[in-house]
């Protein structure tokens, strides 16, 4: 089954780290991706730019509204995701617990609706 691991992180946190800590953090994510791949669980992943770069679009009453900024204004924002393919929820939770984001943010485990 496929699961989307949604990484909710405090956006201010990253800039407060020293360059060494940032490097160590990036390396931890890299290793995590490697482990997912070796285990055959990796489908896809991306790191997202800060939510200040977001734009929201909606159409209401026939009018298109385009706004700057993220949809939900909160300290914690989606900072990235991993799409994984694992046998079941237990296994997805185990992978979520290994994600570096689990120790500095929250990892949401969301099952993918399989269209087939």
């Amino acid at each position: 089954m496929q699961y989307l691991l949604v990484l909710h992180v405090n956006e201010g946190g990253w800039s407060q780290l020293t360059p060494e800590q940032q490097q160590q953090g990036t390396a931890a994510y890299f290793a995590y991706g490697e482990a997912l791949q070796k285990a055959g669980a990796f489908v896809g992943s991306n790191r997202l730019k800060p939510s200040a770069n977001s734009t929201t679009v909606r159409i209401a009453n026939g009018k298109t509204q385009v706004l700057d900024g993220p949809y939900v204004d909160s300290k914690e924002q989606v900072g990235g995701y991993y799409l994984i393919d694992v046998p079941d929820l237990d296994s997805a939770i185990t992978w979520a617990s290994r994600c570096p984001a689990a120790s500095h943010g929250v990892v949401e485990v969301r099952p993918v609706w399989q269209m087939r």
Binding site: Q24, F30, A31, Y32, A39, D90, I93, T94, R98, P100
Partner: protein
């Protein structure tokens, strides 16, 4: 200053829950085998106590009070749920068994201890192996589903479902609440001990000790092991398990330095170990060895003991350690044992011999996601000078680690590899 009655009632209720929860559940469910109903009735009894005790004072025999109320609630719920013949049979069982026993229990101010039978029911071979430890923690110790789910890395909804399915199985399949007969006992006891050790291991993975749920789990597992040892004092493996867990627990604090960084066993200061626990572990293991039956847990405890001895005396005993691992490998087909054996071989015959030993098990599929395998492999390869391979192995170990301080430790080791 007088203590408000409500506080005292809550404190008494908490103390009773801690001391006697499993005893009360075991007693209430022994006849009907309906663990879930017994737990519900007991929960209602605790709720009544928190209303009644502050107003009327705490009873002299709180267990007896709870038992009487829970028994009444249990009978009420059977009446409500069922009608006709099944209900009258159930009620008859309840009335006959419980009332006599409860009356006696209240008279003697002592409830017969059927917790061991309850443990054997929870760890019955007919119950799925993975749910045995959670089931024990809930039924015997009263831990709630969410706490257990977090500890075992499972969703709370799934954990609740699995627990209730297991309880239903106990009732529907007629799993006995009894202590197995002599010839059956060792094998059945193994499943009980395995489940206790599984609970301990889940608690042990939190190296920081800041996660209270996990830390408590090691305490709960020790409580269960002590309970089994108290009720079956002649079982060497139960003593072995208790000794093993005490040895591990004695080193909990030493896994962190003052800066909060992870410290591996080989670099820990023996002075920071809990010597009282080690002494207890040693004397428990001595008791086990006097019983003359060897087993997995005694061997593992002996290994812990050997490590402690070496670190404290500086006396090198790697040959003993490798011998213990050989015996253990013959008993279990565990890749974990194979990894630890390889690490001991490295000390005795050098890193290349250990790398050869570990490569022999590399084909085992179970190891791809097993973090300690990659960490051990990385460590050994770096000692033989195979730095590229070591780098890759560290990468896997880092990617699979969930504890941030251990992850940082491994990253430091990886960065220190010569390029």
């Amino acid at each position: 200053m007088s203590i408000p009655e409500g506080d005292e009632a809550r404190r008494t209720a908490d103390a009773v829950a801690r001391r006697s929860y499993g005893k009360l559940v075991a007693f209430l469910a022994a006849r009907t085998r309906d663990v879930a109903a017994a737990e519900d009735a007991l929960a209602e009894a605790f709720a009544s106590a928190l209303v009644d005790w502050p107003a009327n004072g705490c009873p002299k025999n709180p267990e007896g009070w709870l038992l009487t109320v829970a028994r009444r609630k249990l009978i009420d719920s059977v009446r409500r749920r069922q009608t006709g013949e099944t209900a009258s049979t159930q009620l008859q069982i309840l009335a006959e068994g419980l009332e006599d026993a409860a009356a006696q229990a209240e008279r003697d101010m002592q409830i017969p201890d059927k917790r061991l039978a309850l443990l054997f029911a929870c760890a019955h071979p007919a119950i799925e192996a993975g749910i045995r430890a959670p089931l024990m923690l809930q039924v015997v110790l009263g831990l709630d589903g969410e706490t257990i789910a977090s500890a075992f890395l499972v969703s709370p909804a799934a954990m609740r479902k699995r627990l209730s399915r297991a309880k239903e199985k106990i009732q529907q399949a007629g799993i006995p609440f009894s202590i197995p007969e002599h010839e059956e006992l060792p094998q059945r006891l193994d499943t009980v001990l395995d489940a206790i050790y599984a609970a301990f291991a889940e608690g042990w993975t939190d190296a920081t000790g800041t996660d209270t749920i996990r830390r408590n789990l090691t305490g709960e597992a020790l409580f269960l092991a002590r309970l089994v040892v108290e009720l079956l004092p002649q079982e060497a493996e139960a003593l072995g398990l208790l000794a093993l867990m005490l040895h591990a627990e004695a080193r909990r604090a030493a896994r962190r330095n003052v800066a909060g960084e992870y410290v591996p066993l080989a670099e820990q200061d023996p002075a920071s170990w809990n010597s009282q626990m080690i002494d207890e572990a040693e004397s428990v293991l001595y008791r086990a060895s006097a019983l003359g039956t060897i087993g997995r847990y005694q061997l593992e405890a002996a290994l812990q003991s050997a490590h402690v001895h070496r670190r404290r005396t500086g006396h090198n005993n790697w040959a003993d350690v490798v011998r213990f691992y050989d015996a253990l490998a013959a008993l279990t087909d565990s890749p974990v044992v194979a990894i630890n054996r390889a690490l001991a071989i490295a000390e005795l015959h050098g890193p290349q011999a250990a790398v050869d030993a570990i490569k022999a098990i590399a084909a085992d599929d179970r190891l791809t996601e097993y973090q300690p395998y990659w960490a051990a492999r990385a460590e050994l390869l770096s000692k033989t000078g195979a730095y590229d391979e070591a780098h890759q192995a560290y990468e896997m170990a880092i990617g699979l680690e969930r504890e941030p301080t251990v992850r940082a430790f491994l990253q430091k080791r990886q960065a220190a590899l010569p390029r």
